[in-house]
């Protein structure tokens, strides 16, 4: 009977994913309401639980895809995979007012450029401080500080070694996790409560998963605005990382 039960769960992966994530949400919102009296938003707790489960699964399976490496939970991987993620993020734009986007116009563009360049410079600087002072390693780790997708894309384009690539992905993951979990605590301090600031937030931080996770906890109405700019961020980073930014680094360190 046990075998049949497990068979049903793994054969219907996406449904198992819905069930598992649904249960996670129930537990998270319960914790939020009873233990933190709503101070820490349920979705933030759910995301932390997700990250925690990913860590534990990674330790046990030795894989790279968190809980999705557990055969029974591959459906969670499908639910949170690129296709459904893009579908659901796009759906949040339904009901967005185009005027709000136009209002952010200039500051949105500036935030994108400044966000990419600043992250790159800080990341490359830290890399140099830790002894990775050749242009290729600095640019790859710098690009990782942009997002964990820009890092390996840049590294692959300019021929970085695999340990430097791993470092750059790690830097990007740390950023995504920190933005996701940390931003809600400081939202008030930077006035993150309106569509315009949400767009600048998306442009400055860039990491789509981090930005959307954070905004979901701050105010779900702001998700589409941050998502909009942050999706352009990774593209811009992939464009600038292996080209302008790498060349500038090379010119600087020689």
């Amino acid at each position: 009977m046990e075998k049949i039960f497990i068979d049903v769960l793994s054969k219907n992966g996406l449904l198992t994913g819905f069930a598992v994530v649904g249960l996670t949400m129930v537990v998270s919102y319960w914790i939020s309401n009873t233990l933190t009296r709503g101070k820490l938003h349920g979705s933030a707790i759910a995301i932390m639980m997700g990250l925690g489960l990913a860590y534990v699964s990674g330790l046990f399976t030795g894989g790279q895809k968190g809980v999705a490496d557990i055969p029974l939970l591959t459906g969670v991987g499908f639910l949170g995979g690129a296709m459904i993620r893009d579908f659901a993020i796009t759906a949040t734009a339904f009901g967005v007012h185009f005027d709000e986007i136009k209002k952010a116009g200039m500051s949105g563009v500036v935030s994108l450029l400044l966000g990419v360049v600043l992250s790159f410079v800080v990341g490359a600087g830290v890399a140099a401080a830790f002894g990775y002072n050749d242009a290729v390693s600095m640019a790859t780790i710098g690009a990782g500080a942009v997002t964990y997708i820009v890092g390996p894309v840049t590294g692959a384009a300019i021929g970085a070694s695999s340990d430097v690539m791993a470092l750059s992905i790690a830097a990007g993951l740390i950023k995504a996790i920190l933005v996701m979990v940390g931003s809600p605590f400081f939202a008030k301090a930077i006035g993150l409560d309106n569509p315009r600031t949400a767009m600048v937030f998306g442009g400055m931080m860039g990491t789509t998963s981090g930005v959307c996770g954070a905004l979901a906890a701050i105010d779900p109405k702001l998700v589409p605005y941050g998502a909009m700019t942050s999706t352009f961020y990774t593209g811009l980073g992939c464009l600038m990382g292996p080209s302008v930014l790498f060349l500038a680094t090379q010119a600087l360190v020689g």
Partner: protein, 129 residues
């Protein structure tokens, strides 16, 4: 019917991703450049177009609303499959690079947010700083 809304959404996403891939290959980057952003803009225009022509009854809207409501659980599922072990193992260099990049950019949000906002600020006394 709900499927009409879901279909409009799907078409917007597909076209958006197509544009993003085209743009990526045009500039020689192996990534989708802003695909979801384009998809969102398309959806905004499509919904405005349909609303004006009274082609957006409640059941059709429900076909989109469900997916926008399922968004947070999708993010949770996404978080659950991150390579957290690798992030932690990356050591101090990776952690410091990630943390500093986040803090610096976050701190500058209020500054950038002011750009292009001059018209509203002109009438406010806070501008003297």
């Amino acid at each position: 019917m709900a499927i009409y809304g879901t279909a409009v959404l799907a078409i917007c996403v597909l076209i958006g991703l197509f544009i993003g891939d085209l743009l990526g290959s045009a500039i020689g980057v192996k990534a989708n450049v802003g695909g979801v952003g384009f998809a969102m803009l398309l959806l905004i225009f499509a919904s405005e177009f349909l609303r004006k022509r009274d082609l957006l009854p409640t059941p059709t809207k429900e076909g989109v609303h469900f997916w926008s409501a399922i968004y947070i659980p999708v993010v949770v599922a996404m978080a659950a499959q991150q390579n957290v072990v690798a992030a932690v193992k990356g050591g101090p260099a990776a952690i410091l690079a990630g943390v500093l990049a986040t803090v610096v950019c976050y701190a500058l949000i209020p500054v950038v947010e002011r750009i292009g906002k001059d018209k509203q600020l002109a009438s406010s006394p806070v501008i003297a700083e």
